[in-house]
Amino acid sequence: NKEKKATYIVHMSKPEMPASFEHHTHWYESSLKSVSDSAQMLYTYENAIHGFSTRLTLAEAKLLESQPGILSVMLELRYELH
């Protein structure tokens, strides 16, 4: 189902943030809005990675991955207790 959304973790290249953005979260939001009007950020990450997680369709994820400053758009994985 092309419309089915999944959670993706989006890795951003912070050094590539355009100077026009005052704060990196604005840049993240702008990048997300460029591929989806409805997608919301689940988390923004500051320390573990530079980026955010969100729900996207596969097409949106691929489109986002092609945007400048995007390092990768990784499908969320499930972990289990040991």
Binding site: I9, K14, P15, E46, N47, I49, Y79, L81
Partner: protein, 653 residues
Amino acid sequence: TTRTPEFLGLDKSADLLPQSDSVSEVIIGVLDTGVWPESKSFLDTGFGPVPSSWKGECESGTNFTTKNCNRKLIGARFFARGYEATLGPVDESKESKSPRDDDGHGTHTSSTAGGSSVADASLFGYAAGTARGMAARARVAVYKVCWVGGCFSSDILAAMDKAIDDGVNVLSMSLGGSMSYYYRDSVAIGAFAAMEKGIFVSCSAGNAGPSSYSLSNVAPWITTVGAGTLDRDFPAFVSLGNGKNYSGVSLYKGDAILPGKLLPFVYAGNASNATNGNLCMMGTLIPEQVAGKIVLCDRGVNPRVQKGAVVKAAGGIGMVLSNTDANGEELVADAHLLPATAVGKKGGDEIKNYLFSDPKPTATILFEGTKVGIQPSPVVAAFSSRGPNSITPDILKPDMIAPGVNILAGWVGSAGPTGLATDGRRVEFNIISGTSMSCPHVSGLAALIKAAHPDWSPAAIKSALMTTAYVTYKNGNKLQDVATGKDSTPFDHGAGHVDPVSALNPGLVYDLTADDYLNFLCALNYSATEITSLARRKFTCDASKKYSVTDLNYPSFAVNFGSGGADAVIKHSRTLTNVGAPGTYKVLITLQSPGVKVAVEPETLSFRQANEKKSYTVTFTGSSMPADTNSFGRIEWSNGKQIVGSPIAVSWT
């Protein structure tokens, strides 16, 4: 943990251990199922103010308020946005949308790592004693990332993100996912950032043993912990109608005591119409054929304790749980709902022969309580995941083993000891097994080392734990693997079993910086994009530089010869840093294989001052050997008092 401090030598070495004041400055962050704050393991009696560096919080939610934190449990957060986005809202009738642990796993792991001392702890009288975390005076912060439906990477990453910002010193993560490259693995990615901030990250190796290549969490900046047994057991014998007895283990204690006589005995596979009836899966046993009988079930597929519940529901009055090839002679004790015992494969096979040959088989189970001093111990647990490392075969994993079988630690008030919904019993402590249990042991020990050596990097702490780990018993015999009954290898136990008292004073360490790991990623030919994802900054591999995985200053050696291996030469470079007294160390190489020659240059290293660094090179020269051959050995540097040991694993593929 009523036994592990003694087993690890922590009880006899108070003068060698860091002072309580310095340990209480160390904060252990645990990513798991949350915490049961009312557990006595989180009492803060005698604790001073929270370290001034701490920026964490105690978040409120279902049945959890800021008042649930104290000077011991200094932080508690929960992360469910990723979970809810995929599986829908948390069902608050089943689990708390808060840091509260409704499962037990997180309370067990966090109390193992840093729980306060609790006298008179036991599970139904089993394993009685004083329970305590390995770093009983350390502070604990919990990050709930696992829910009924699983643990999602967006939540795990968010928790690691916060833990780094909060100011934890150690991160304990008893969870894992499928094998993937480091830049795709959220735990590896988050752990890299943590490592850069000086945070020691300990992860469980996984419970997919004894299969080879079954490890999780193999990034070199993570400390990967396998599981071994203690010298403690809970014997429960099976006595058959033919007069033979078989040893097993059990944590059963209840009202439904078996009468002191032989009872009808049946094999589950013969009391079921299902093809897998032997496994005692839900709804597969025929009540008329098991009622009033002891039932033998084979281990595998469904949880061990569930098999007991299935037998009980079908009217059985006892259970013998038999291992199969997958588990060998490993005996894991469970707090079954009915009188039950677990037996090894050999005994199980003999019992089955009796069941198949005697027209009216009978049996009973005799419970013996707790026994300590069991030898040999430790032995590598069959379930403990094994190398080689499938992502980077040139890095030996697991790093070490620690106690992970039949561990008693804190439990929740919302679930019984089996974790089954039908288990209405409530206990303050539970006994469970897994690399989930060994990981927090190492986390707590790392906290002790951090307290003793606040300036040591995570790599130095790992090195100290690895190079002082032991691979032989006191009688000189090699550590055993319960899965085979034979000597275990570095693919099973890594550098060996942790010896924390020695680790506090290792003499020399193999240190590493974040840039060293980035050079390692260059050696793996990771792209600039992939490295930037991990490094969170531009890092360009120098095209003119020759990078090699064998140059990573790792405290162990994995050597891989290609097809044949004839005349292949592989060099490993290492640098040792003196963290002890001045002295001269001489090398001893132990590796007896016709397939490889090992040479170390130089063979002597002299250190005149603290933090002095000396490098050496190990040259492995291969001969032709059949594919899938492995040889194992050690390189040990000794000054006559201390031994700085590293395992060697040589493979021909």
